[in-house]
């Protein structure tokens, strides 16, 4: 059982210890096996160690896989070390979201098979998991970012089956985003920083914008050189 001192510590080492303690079989790969994974993706690793998602539809699926890995790792940590004062309804919501993101991650891993990028190592050292504001703020960032990411590359997808899958996932991410917004401030489900006040359209972002933000939470950096 964590003491308050340990919970307030919030440094990476503490987070990783408890992460490993609570991680299930499906999640243990992140960070733990990353360094030791097979080198079948050597050609996607740049000299600086950045992982490139590749090109074409597989590149887009890997891009999605990278983001889902990040989200799954984040929520796994959130549930492993719940913030102070987490209400039971919030625990229930966040556990569901965690399970959805894990399902998304495992789906891409299975669908991409040998074409999948490696397991990524997250860096959540900037997030104080003991603090509700910090955790929900990070959650909102991840969900909002995920929505803009999927919607920003939809037009690049060539295979309609993959577009259908992306469509099936992005609306769930938007449901998550709205819920997190509501947990932060009741009524903040379609905030003007995400939904244009004139057109009512959600923002979209290209991969370089998304990855610039995502990479601040990743030790293993990701690039999408073939997409703008």
């Amino acid at each position: 059982m964590k003491t308050d001192t340990e919970l307030n510590n919030g440094n990476v080492n503490m987070a990783r210890r408890s992460f490993l303690r609570y991680a299930g079989a499906g999640v243990a790969g992140i960070g733990l096996l990353g360094a030791a994974s097979s080198c079948h993706k050597d050609h996607n690793v740049t000299p600086s160690g950045t992982i490139d998602v590749g090109s074409g539809d597989p590149g887009i699926l890997n891009y999605a896989y990278a983001l889902e890995q990040l989200e799954a790792a984040f929520y796994t940590q959130v549930i492993a070390t719940p913030y102070s004062g987490m209400a039971s309804v919030e625990l229930s919501f966040l556990t569901d979201i965690r399970d959805h993101e894990v399902a998304h991650r495992e789906f891409f891993k299975a669908a991409l098979s040998t074409g999948a990028i490696q397991a990524l190592t997250p860096d959540f050292s900037k997030i104080d998991f003991s603090n509700r504001t910090a955790v929900l703020g990070a959650a909102k960032t991840f969900e909002d970012l995920g929505v803009t990411a999927y919607d920003g590359v939809g037009y690049l997808i060539q295979n309609p089956a993959y577009l259908a899958i992306a469509g099936s996932i992005v609306s769930v991410e938007a449901r998550h985003a709205a819920l997190i917004g509501n947990l932060i401030t009741f009524g903040n489900f379609a905030s003007s920083d995400q939904v244009d006040a004139t057109t009512g359209l959600n923002a979209t972002n290209n991969p370089s914008t998304v990855l610039a933000a995502a990479n601040t939470y990743l030790k293993t950096k990701v690039s999408a050189r073939s997409f703008s």
């Binding site: 399970d99 985003a177 489900f189 939904v195």
Partner: protein
């Protein structure tokens, strides 16, 4: 940001720019003719929309049909919220619902101008013989005596209908994405609206659950069925059997196989498998245009 400076800069490389942003259809050119002298990504979102409108790919009649289908749904939603918000004493959470109302009305305006700019004729409220939000339309007229007859007299009924409207809107947009495959302008716009409808769906569900004790979650959580749940009985998590069809169809909400992968057989934090609840909630499913129209016509709307 000085809009006129930007336009002046663009006119240096594209003297026809002022013509492009006017609604005159005959000067709308394909985006590729503009080149890459201005980085669209560097332009703030609202102005980006203007560019997208000006340089939108010439829309085929099928793209215009998709946009008009979307506009039809937005008109229904906007009218629904406008009527509800305009009914004295009905809506208690005014600020909350007003946001959704504003978005739907914005979607109507956006799609109307997009269709016009693309050379199409947008549907309008006058395109319907009647609208009946109680679900009681008989093909000839509204009866206002359908399964949701208290939709504008009972706030909880209003919210329940709103929830299903939003869930159905999400599925309808999703079902059209394939028809816009590869279309940077219109697919991106459709996906961007689709995301907001999903936010709305989540928001209505959260409101009903957190404030009014409804047994719903922000996401659609379904149960397994032995065969394809076309009727939607196992997929529908609203507790209102009258809307089963909204959650069913050829790809019902309780679908657990995605792209050939059985989600329930994937590992989760609970173990080597994933529950049906998680597998169904983690993915939303499309409705075809025909399925949506069958749900709406003639019960809710009758086109002229």
């Amino acid at each position: 940001m000085n809009l006129f400076n930007i336009i002046e800069e663009i006119e240096k490389v594209d003297p026809e720019f002022n013509d492009r942003i006017s609604p005159r259809r005959d000067v709308i050119k394909n985006m590729s003719s503009f080149g890459s002298k201005v980085a669209l990504a560097a332009i703030p979102f609202a102005l980006g929309d203007l560019f997208k409108k000006a340089y939108g790919q010439a829309a085929s009649s099928s793209v215009i049909s998709v946009l008009n289908f979307a506009l039809t749904l937005e008109l229904l939603e906007a009218t629904f919220y406008n009527t509800g918000m305009g009914t004295s004493g009905l809506v208690t959470d005014s600020a909350y619902i007003a946001q959704i109302q504003a978005d739907e009305n914005d979607h109507v305006k956006f799609l109307t101008s997009a269709i016009t700019a693309a050379g199409g004729t947008p549907v309008t409220a006058a395109s319907f013989t009647y609208l009946d939000f109680t679900g009681g339309g008989n093909g000839t007229a509204a009866t206002n005596n359908g399964p949701f007859k208290t939709v504008f007299s009972n706030y909880q009924t209003f919210l329940a209908v709103a929830e299903t409207f939003e869930d159905t809107g999400v599925r309808a947009y999703k079902g059209q994405a394939g028809n816009l495959l590869g279309n940077q302008t219109y697919l991106t716009a459709a996906l961007a609206i689709h995301a907001v409808e999903a936010r709305h769906a989540s928001a209505i569900r959260y409101l009903r659950m957190s404030k009014y004790g409804a047994t719903v979650l922000p996401w659609i959580t379904s149960t397994a069925s032995g065969s394809v749940d076309v009727s939607g009985a196992a997929s529908n998590d609203t507790g209102v059997a009258a809307v089963n069809a909204n959650y069913g169809g050829a790809t019902p909400e309780n679908t657990t196989v995605q792209g050939g992968v059985d989600i329930t057989k994937l590992p989760s934090l609970e173990g080597s498998t994933t529950t049906v609840a998680t597998a169904t909630a983690a993915f939303d499913e499309p409705l075809t245009m025909a399925e949506v129209l069958a749900i709406l016509v003639p019960a809710f709307a009758q086109p002229k």
